[in-house]
């Protein structure tokens, strides 16, 4: 465990020294500023609309805006997770960076765990900060707050951690470039499967629903994201609830405790696969 902490500290220091943290902070501030401007203008427009008995414009606008922000968080969180881990094993080994560390008594498992812990901490802080920032902006500018303020953020964090784990696993077998491409293609495939599931739900097409179901088990990050979107407006009913659910940022499926449990088991399985692959890898 001591070795893993040493490596995690090293990974964090690398992120700071290579200005990854600085770049992320500056760009995040820019994103939140743009989001605040967009939210302010949107809610100004919504407040000028005539009241509708059937449709709650404020809920629709707030959940759509925040859903968009959540998609951005998932995407940028995935970018961060992938870039922090894509060359952790084979990439660093090809550059000759890994061997001097592997020879040390800390062991390969600690190295892997440390690299993951460092990336996971950066990603968790990033997603949490942006989530809280976007929620505060939406609440302050439009007086709209998620029905469940904690669950969607936690789901996003767990989803990004799953992506980081997949990227770390890929780094054991693939070169950095190939791994980056592979993980982003998996990420895109997961999102596409989720959208197909939404369409399947809206049109009651069983095949599409099945595709989404299977993909949510194979790639749980997408289901966690969809579950988070669902939780944003879980208490909204009537026409508003239906329209929000059908929109591009309305989650049709509740995550449920089974998905959370599976995501944690999935993390463990991916970690075990990475450990086994790394243990057998000649450097």
């Amino acid at each position: 465990m001591r070795g893993a902490l040493v490596v995690a500290r090293y990974a964090l220091r690398e992120a700071v020294r290579r200005r990854v943290i600085l770049v992320v902070l500056v760009l995040t501030a820019g994103f939140l500023a743009l989001y605040a401007l967009g939210a302010k203008l949107t809610f100004d427009e919504v407040n000028g609309l005539a009241a509708d008995d059937q449709l709650d414009d404020r809920v629709l606008a707030g959940s759509t805006l925040f859903g968009l922000a959540m998609f951005t968080m998932l995407f940028l969180g995935a970018v961060l997770a992938v870039f922090l881990t894509l060359g952790a094993v084979r990439g660093d080994a090809e550059r000759g960076l890994l061997q001097p560390m592997v020879v040390r008594p800390v062991g390969r498992t600690s190295l892997l765990l440390g690299r993951y812990a460092g990336a996971a901490l950066v990603c968790t802080l990033y997603v949490t900060a942006v989530y809280v920032g976007a929620m505060l902006i939406t609440g302050i500018t439009g007086d709209w707050w998620p029905d469940d303020p904690v669950g969607p953020g936690a789901g996003l964090v767990l989803g990004v951690l799953v992506i980081a784990a997949l990227s770390l696993l890929g780094s054991v077998f693939l070169s950095a470039t190939a791994n980056g491409i592979a993980v982003f293609m998996i990420f895109g495939a997961g999102l596409a499967a989720g959208l197909l599931g939404q369409i399947g739900d809206a049109l009651a097409v069983q095949t599409l629903q099945d595709v989404a179901e299977v993909s949510s088990w194979v790639l749980p990050f997408e289901a966690l994201y969809q579950g988070g979107l669902h939780s944003l407006t879980q208490d909204a009913g009537g026409v508003t609830g239906v329209i929000v659910q059908l929109g591009p940022f309305g989650g049709a499926q509740d995550a449920g405790p089974g998905l959370w449990l599976w995501a944690l088991v999935y993390l463990g399985l991916v970690g075990a696969a990475a450990r086994a692959g790394f243990a057998r890898r000649d450097l």
Partner: protein, 278 residues
Amino acid sequence: MPTVLSCESLEKRYGGTVALGGVDLRVERGELLGLLGPNGAGKSTLTKIACGLVRATGGRAEVEGAPAGSASARAAIGYLAELFRFPDWLTADELIALHQDLAGSDGGVGERGELLELVGLAEARKVKVAAMSKGMQQRLGIAQALVGSPRLLMLDEPTSALDPVGRRVVRDLLRELRRRDVAVVLSSHLLSEVELVCDRVAILVGGQIVAGGTPAELARPRGVEVETGNGVRSFPQATREDVPRIVAELVAGGEQVYGVTVLASTLEDAYLEAVGAA
């Protein structure tokens, strides 16, 4: 002398390619072994198996009695790879500190200062790796390998980027390590370097040790040359023991003798012979 590194029938195959085909090797405490061989002979593979970076497909490798690659074996080893790179955002002092943490060394500032001093980088402790020349990085690599006072040092081409002064620093360092009872396996193409510092040499060709021994044992007699008043006289079959008799016969025959040279093959000759014969 206790054995620090022991390899028995060590094999490594990459698919159908045999990198090591049954190597037997022992390195004793305080011994400096030169590992020689052409590119692709298996030197780096042997080194990496000892360091736990590569898994053997057959045979056995042990470091201080522990299987190579085990935590206790790795704790006894210092390693500098042929193709290495250190994080360029770290300073020399930070890099050594990182390896102290990884090795569990509690040497602290004192050890860092001593190691950087040993490799002639005392003034560069605050210099980032990115700002160092290749030679400086190689010396930093040797300092890194010495973190935690290893009992076995595996050096793969440690002087390839060094200028003559840097090589002298490393030679002196290796002699100092021998004095401290550290075993060193020095893999190199620089035969003159190996000849100067190594106690013993193993020549690896095609994954097998084809020749081994002290540099003196590997150097074979190549006759005697005698400088006389009538020019240089060669005796190709003669040895050092024949010199008094040859000189006596020449003097008795009326020759003026000005000098005698006992010829022996160099390590380079022995190496080329071994590589050519294999």
